[in-house]
Symmetry: C2
Subunit: 104 residues, 2 copies
DNA sequence: CGCAAATATGTCAAATTTGACATATTTCCT
DNA sequence: AGGAAATATGTCAAATTTGACATATTTGCG
């Protein structure tokens, strides 16, 4: 299994869990995946708190339900940009994002 | 002046300073720009701490000097992804990034 | 000053990310 | 169970971001 494949899987939660860890990934790749995971968790949490469906959030940010699903799954094709923009659209502040990053 | 133009200028520091504020930008656009500004400051700080030139950092992250310059200037064509990846390449942790975001 | 190293700016083809769409799967009611 | 709403997954053309390059400007040092 090559490194790219492994990263894609890792981002989808298949390889790495809290038990089986990010085996063989470089530290900066790990950090990048972890960051995206935290943001995607925060996104889902905020969306649910507001009682929005993925489709409703998609409309809010002028995207699509499928892309929102991918964001929340931390799909490898989703950028950090899109994640943070979506969080801001859900009224998160920069501080909220910093907080989300430090949360276990 | 349209909103896009204003945002580009704002990201380059022309419109918004600590004195003249982010006039007319939507809250989420402001937050996004602020986030990128914090990351670009942290990038420059870390690079200087390590005594690296922009060209040296560029080599480290397999990019180019000009793109590093744009990152540190928080150019509108630079993504948050590239910024955080570069920070990770300079041994920043997710916590370091969270910390940078909360710093004035 | 003079000049070399560093940084900044503009441009563009190639690479990546995007919204949209179709469709599959899961969740949660009655 | 069964069906409707929500979520997930795969694909792709269009849009955005990228590294690379040329070149301009700034910085710092003799």
């Amino acid at each position: 299994m090559d490194a790219e494949k492994k990263k894609r899987l890792a981002e989808k939660g298949w390889v790495s869990t809290s038990i089986q860890d990010f085996l063989g990934l470089a530290p900066d790749e790990m950090a990048y995946i972890e960051l995206k995971l935290q943001l995607s968790r925060e996104l889902r949490a905020r969306r649910n708190e507001k009682g929005l469906t993925q489709a409703a959030l998609a409309e809010l940010i002028k995207s699509s339900q499928s892309r929102v699903a991918k964001m929340e799954k931390s799909d490898a094709t989703v950028s950090v940009d899109l994640l943070v923009r979506s969080l801001f659209a859900l009224d998160a502040t920069v501080e909220d994002i910093a907080q989300a990053l430090t949360t276990a």
